[in-house]
Amino acid sequence: MTNYIVGRLISAVITVIGTTFLVFGAVRFLPGNAVDIIASTSTVGGPNAHAQVEHELGLDKPFLVGYGDWLKQVATGDFGKSLINGQSINRFLKEGLPVSAELGLMSLVFGIAFGVPIGVISAVKQDSWIDFVLRSLSIVLLAVPGFLIAVIIIVVASRVWNWNPPITYIKFTDDPVHNLEQFLLPAIILGFSSAAALMRFTRTSMLDVYRQDYVRTARAKGLSERSVVWTHAFRNALIPIISVIGVFLAYIIGGTVIFEQIFQLPGIGRFLLSEVNTRDYPGIQAIALIFALIVVAVNLITDLAYTLIDPRVRY
């Protein structure tokens, strides 16, 4: 057990080092003229703008030296300055992270609240019309991307009720009710549209458990169907579901980037998009790294939780 945990921790650390390598190294693949494009729009300005931009990106140093310097800076929590307007990246992160975290967590909760029960019902009523309808729903959700659902809902709302998503962002600390109201629609749509895979996975996992002997035993000893489904089957079906929560979260994070754009929420996802548009690499590096760290951490936690929850898994 200890061996497994130590091994898993080491591999997580290696992965984190690898992600920093990739995030820093990606800039090295910039096409030659990109630095000139940045230099032309940047406030660094002056006759030696080109050299200055190269210096800021660490392109003027040997790869490992530049990487070392960058890593040292990032390790202290300083992501540097924007190449476009010279402002501190950390300031944007500080403003944007709570917004993205709120949207991401709410979507995750909605996604699980939709996906897991629907998957369970679909499995319990296997091959009935309810199962058919729910499975068709998951097939439709797999085919219609979340951003399309969001646009359709906004268009319908605007035509029918003359409602448009608010343009100004209300902070939670200023007005919690309006803030939550603002997040409700994007979080529901994002959670719901991401839930299809979770639905199918829950259904499969539940059907697997249904064939187990202990479920037959539970029925044979006369337990109510409700007790069989929820106490005996569902609790065991949950174990594999927990292992895919990390994958689900990664999917949600990808979705928040687009949804923050659609619903005008000033999170780090929308910041990432504007940074990509202006090719402001320090910001892109910072956010890509943060997202990767979150995914690595969640995967680590689910893996470790797995060994605690499932008594059959003993390393």
Partner: protein, 303 residues
């Protein structure tokens, strides 16, 4: 009696084994024989979309980028079967030419990505040792990023455009598929026929290409069919946020985008046409992928 004429005696001297059918024929016959609704439900829309893309110049009633100030946001009519957009461009033409972009990016990125993933997976699985260790840690790193964030990062470095979108999606597809293929190679490697091939002196390359590759081929086909839907959605999402195919090129993702949804609300036929085409295509590839997987390798259910 009748059976005897069908099953020739394999021990008789003049027994001629029937040559194996080509892969595509074998799979097609099996899919047809098992009468899978999902297969036809997938194949028919895909063929229709390919026809739409190929015959786009004949189907379109106007060039996709031709602006016409007289017909701004006109509803569907005989002159414009799917209506016009905010610049008076024919929506049917844009959907048809958009099909070219979507299908091309989907096929190209998956072919490139999965082809390289196959090489990585086969080398990693067959070499083992430190080669395997290093390659798999690289795959770990790629898999640590949320798919869309990694693709954004690559697209940000390369810049927008069709070719760069293909590269970005292909790079993302190196990770997951190569790991699945590696696992498959490891499973195949344990078979006696691989040992036999090695014993009679086949080189590593020969074992890899003539003995392992044919046995992981089914898995590669399943992975490709499943990921085409992913690639098409991702391309549309990139174009939707303005980082995929740059305007004014026709593209399903950018058609439903628009910086303001105001005119999309005035002209719901634009979303219906472009969004419908996107959803039907993705649905079709999902269906086809599912039935191929069920036929070729039911163990891959979790993909």
């Amino acid at each position: 009696m009748a059976l005897n004429s069908v099953a020739a005696d394999p021990l008789s001297a003049d027994f001629q084994p029937r040559p194996p059918r080509p892969f595509i024929v074998r799979v097609f016959l099996q899919l047809v024989r098992e009468e899978r609704v999902g297969f036809w439900g997938g194949l028919v829309p895909i063929v229709l979309m390919i026809l739409l893309a190929v015959f786009a110049p004949l189907i379109a009633q106007a060039p996709p980028n031709q602006q016409n100030g007289d017909v701004l946001l006109h509803a569907p009519s005989f002159a414009h079967l799917l209506g016009t957009d905010e610049n008076g461009r024919d929506v049917l033409a844009r959907v048809a030419y958009g099909a070219r972009v979507s299908l091309w990016v989907g096929f190209a990125s998956v072919c490139i990505g999965v082809a390289i993933a196959t090489v990585i997976g086969m080398v990693s699985g067959s070499a083992g040792g430190w080669v395997d260790l290093v390659l798999q840690r690289v795959v770990d790193v790629l898999m640590a990023f949320p798919s869309f964030v990694l693709i954004l990062l690559i697209a940000a470095v390369l810049g927008p455009g069709e070719r760069n979108t293909i590269i970005a999606i292909a790079v993302f597809l190196l990770a997951g598929p190569s790991r699945v293929i590696r696992g498959q190679v490891l499973a195949v490697k344990g078979n006696v026929y691989i040992e036999a091939a090695e014993v009679i002196g086949c080189s590593h390359t020969r074992v890899l290409i003539h003995h392992i590759l044919p046995n992981v081929f089914d898995v590669i086909v399943v992975i490709m069919s499943i990921n085409i839907a992913f690639a098409i959605i991702t391309e549309a999402a990139l174009s939707f946020i303005g980082l995929g195919i740059p305007p004014p090129n026709p593209d399903w993702g950018s058609m439903v985008s628009g910086t303001e949804t105001a005119y999309l609300a005035q002209a719901p036929w634009i979303i219906a046409a472009a969004g419908g085409a996107l959803a039907i295509t993705v649905y079709a590839f999902n269906m086809l992928g599912d039935s191929l997987r069920d036929i070729l390798d039911p163990r891959l259910r979790q993909l």
